[in-house]
C-alpha cells in the first residue's frame, strides 16, 4: 500500500540514552535531563553544538494538583535547550494525551521539513513527594466541579469504569490479567535501568495485591518514578553517516474522541470506537499492516490498555483479548507475540511510553543485547489509551 505519509523512511533515530528509573532520583529532574541529553548526543556520535531542535511532551500525569516547576517537576524543551546552552532553531512541546507519540510527531515533522537538522527528543517523568494523585482541594471549580464532589478522582478510577464494563460485557475475569502483568514484570526484571530490575512477579502476588478501585489493583498500575530518556532524530541520510544503525520512522497516528464527557471519564465504547480509527489511520499513514510488525510494543500504563490496544489493532476481535493473551501467546521468551518484551510501563515504571519506544529502537538497531529478538524489522510503539493516545511505527531498513 502506498503510504500517505510522504516522510516515511526519511527520518531516523540516531542514538539514545536512558537514565536509571528510580522512585526518587538523587538529583533534580532537570539535572537528570541534562545528563541524559548529553549521553544521547554522544551516543549518536554528535556534539552538543550540532543539536538545533528540541521536542517533548512535558506533562506531569498526576491528579495531585502539585505546583509545577520547570526543571523540577517537569522539563520542557525550552528549559532543556537553555540549560544545555543551546539556542535552538526549533523547540516544541506536545499538548494532549499520548505525549510521547506527540513528541515524535513534532520531531519527525521538524526534521522532514528542514526546520532542524538534529532534534533531541526527551521525556522526563517525576514522582513528587507525597501520594501521587492525592489532592487536598476543598473547592471544586472548573472541570473538577463535575467529578470531585462525588468522589470520582484520580486515574485509577478512570480506567476502573471501562475495565469493569469490559469484564462484565465479555465475561472476563481479573485472573486473566495476571498473565499480562506477570509478563511485563518478567521482561522488566531483565532490564538493568528498570525500577523492577531483578524483581519479577508471581500470579499470586498479583491476585493478592491491594484493590484500589474494583477491578483495578495496585499492580494494574505502573509505579510513579523519576526517570529521563532522550533520543536523537535526524534525516536518514545524515543518520547513515553516524555510528549506530539508523532506525527509520515509518509513520504515526493519533486520535481524539468527540463525545462530551466528564473529565477523565473514559467510556469503553469511546476507547474502542476511536481506538479502531487510530489503528486504521496508522495503516493508511504508513502503508504497513499489522502483519508487517514483529516488535509490537503495546502501552500498559494501566494493564487493561493491553486488551484495548490488542483489539483496536486487530490482533483479536472485540472482547477476545482476555483469552488471546493466555497460554504463552504473549510470552517474549517463549516465542509468543512480544507485546511487552521491553517490560512496558508495568515492568519499568511510569515512563509514559518510553519503554515501548526504547524497545523498538533497541531491537531494530540490534542493540538489545541478550534480549535481542530474532526477528526485529518493523516495530510499533504505542502510548496512552488507543482513543486519546497514539502509536508510531519504525523500521530497521528504509521502506
Amino acid at each position: 500500500m502506498t503510504p500517505r505519509f510522504t516522510a516515511r523512511s526519511k527520518v531516523a533515530i540516531a542514538g539514545f540514552a536512558q537514565s536509571q528509573v528510580e522512585r526518587h532520583a538523587g538529583v533534580p529532574l532537570g539535572a537528570l535531563a541534562v545528563d541524559t541529553a548529553q549521553r544521547a548526543i554522544a551516543d549518536a556520535g554528535l556534539s552538543r553544538e550540532q543539536i538545533d531542535g528540541f521536542a517533548t511532551g512535558s506533562l506531569l500525569p498526576s491528579a495531585g494538583g502539585q505546583t509545577i516547576v520547570d526543571g523540577v517537576s517537569i522539563v520542557t524543551s525550552n528549559w532543556l535547550a537553555e540549560n544545555l546552552g543551546i539556542n535552538p532553531r526549533f523547540a516544541a512541546g506536545f499538548q494532549g494525551y499520548g505525549q510521547l507519540v506527540g513528541a515524535v510527531m513534532l520531531a519527525v515533522n521538524a526534521v522532514a521539513a528542514g526546520a532542524a537538522d538534529y532534534v533531541l527528543l526527551h521525556r522526563a517523568l517525576h514522582n513528587p513527594a507525597g501520594r501521587y494523585h492525592q489532592n487536598v482541594m476543598t473547592e471544586a471549580s472548573g472541570t473538577a466541579q463535575w467529578v470531585a464532589p462525588q468522589g470520582f478522582w484520580g486515574p485509577p478510577v478512570t480506567i476502573a469504569l471501562p475495565y469493569n464494563e469490559y469484564l462484565q460485557r465479555y465475561g472476563a475475569s481479573r485472573e486473566a490479567m495476571a498473565t499480562v502483568v506477570v509478563e511485563a514484570r518478567a521482561n522488566g526484571a531483565r532490564i538493568p535501568w528498570s525500577y523492577w530490575h531483578d524483581r519479577p512477579l508471581t500470579v499470586d502476588d498479583y491476585l493478592s495485591a491491594r484493590v484500589v478501585a474494583d477491578p483495578i489493583c495496585i499492580l494494574d498500575c505502573d509505579i510513579p518514578v523519576d526517570g529521563v530518556a532522550a533520543f536523537v532524530f535526524t534525516t536518514a541520510e545524515r543518520a547513515r553517516d553516524l555510528p549506530n544503525p539508523p532506525v527509520y520512522v515509518a509513520g504515526y497516528a493519533q486520535g481524539h474522541p468527540t463525545t462530551p464527557r466528564f473529565p477523565l471519564h473514559w467510556a469503553l465504547d469511546d476507547i474502542m470506537g476511536a481506538g479502531v480509527e487510530t489503528a486504521r489511520r496508522l495503516w493508511e499513514h504508513s502503508g504497513l499492516s499489522r502483519r508487517d510488525i514483529d516488535v509490537p510494543q503495546l502501552y500498559d500504563g494501566f494493564s487493561p490498555f493491553i486488551y484495548f490496544w490488542l483489539e483496536s489493532l486487530g490482533y483479536c476481535g472485540l472482547g477476545e483479548a482476555h483469552r488471546f493473551v493466555q497460554d504463552g501467546a504473549i510470552s517474549a521468551r517463549g516465542g509468543g507475540l512480544p507485546i511487552l518484551s521491553g517490560g512496558g510501563a508495568i515492568g519499568n515504571g511510569r515512563m509514559h511510553g518510553v519503554p515501548q519506544m526504547l524497545e523498538c529502537y533497541l531491537q531494530l538497531s540490534r542493540r538489545a543485547g541478550e534480549r535481542q529478538l530474532p526477528a526485529a524489522d518493523v516495530g510499533l510503539a504505542c502510548h496512552s489509551s488507543p482513543h486519546f493516545g497514539g502509536a508510531a511505527l519504525y523500521s530497521a531498513e528504509p521502506l
Binding site: A63, G64, R131, H133, Q134, N135, V136, M137, T138, E139, A140, S141, G142, T143, A144, Q145, W146, V147, A148, P149, Q150, G151, F152, W153, G154, P156, V157, A160, L161, P162, N164, E165, Q168, R169, R210, V211, V212, A213, D214, P215, I216, T258, T259, P260, R261, F262, H265, A267, L268, D269
Partner: protein, 157 residues
C-alpha cells in the same frame, strides 16, 4: 521526663484534627443553573435550543450544531437511566472521601439521549448486586446548606 512526655501538655491537648472536608462544587456562569437546581433536588442538563441535543458538562459550543452559549438552556430530565459500568472505590485520592470507602460510583446513561452519561455515587452501597443495564434513579447527596450533588439508587423491578 522522657522526650515523649515533653510533647504532651495535659492542660492543652493537641487539637483533634477535624475530618478533611469534601470538595464542594464552585458554580460558574455555565454551571450555576445546574447546581441551583441540584440544591432543590432536581437534575437539569444543558440542552441546545436549536437542535435539542443534551450535553454534560455544559459545553461552550453544541457538538450537534455548533451553536454557542446563549442558545443553550438547562432542561429538567427524568433522572432515570441505566448502569453502563461501576466501581467500588477502596481508596480515595480526595482525603474528604477516605472515611467513606468503600463506596460505589456508577456510570449512568440517562434515558433522555443515547450516550448522555453521568457519574455519581450509588447510595445502595458496596454490597448491592449490580449488573450492566440495571435501572437507576437520581437522588441527591446534601453536602451542606444549599449544596447537593446528584447520586443514584437502584430501581428494583
Amino acid at each position: 521526663m522522657t522526650a515523649c512526655e515533653q510533647t504532651t501538655d495535659v492542660a492543652n491537648p493537641l487539637p483533634v484534627p477535624s475530618a478533611p472536608a469534601k470538595p464542594v462544587p464552585v458554580p460558574d456562569d455555565r454551571s450555576a443553573a445546574y447546581w441551583a437546581a441540584a440544591a432543590q433536588h432536581t437534575l437539569v442538563i444543558a440542552r441546545c435550543t436549536r437542535c435539542g441535543r443534551y450535553a454534560l458538562p455544559p459545553p461552550l459550543v453544541c457538538t450537534g450544531c455548533l451553536t454557542y452559549e446563549p442558545e443553550l438552556e438547562y432542561a429538567p430530565v427524568s433522572g432515570q437511566g441505566t448502569v453502563r459500568s461501576w466501581t467500588v472505590m477502596r481508596d480515595a485520592f480526595l482525603p474528604g472521601f477516605q472515611a467513606d470507602v468503600p463506596f460505589v460510583l456508577v456510570d449512568v446513561e440517562l434515558d433522555e439521549e443515547p450516550e448522555l452519561r453521568i457519574i455519581g455515587r450509588l447510595v445502595d452501597g458496596p454490597d448491592a448486586e449490580l449488573h450492566l443495564g440495571d435501572r437507576v434513579s437520581v437522588v441527591f447527596d446534601d453536602l451542606g446548606p444549599g449544596v447537593a450533588v446528584p447520586a443514584f439508587e437502584l430501581v428494583r423491578a
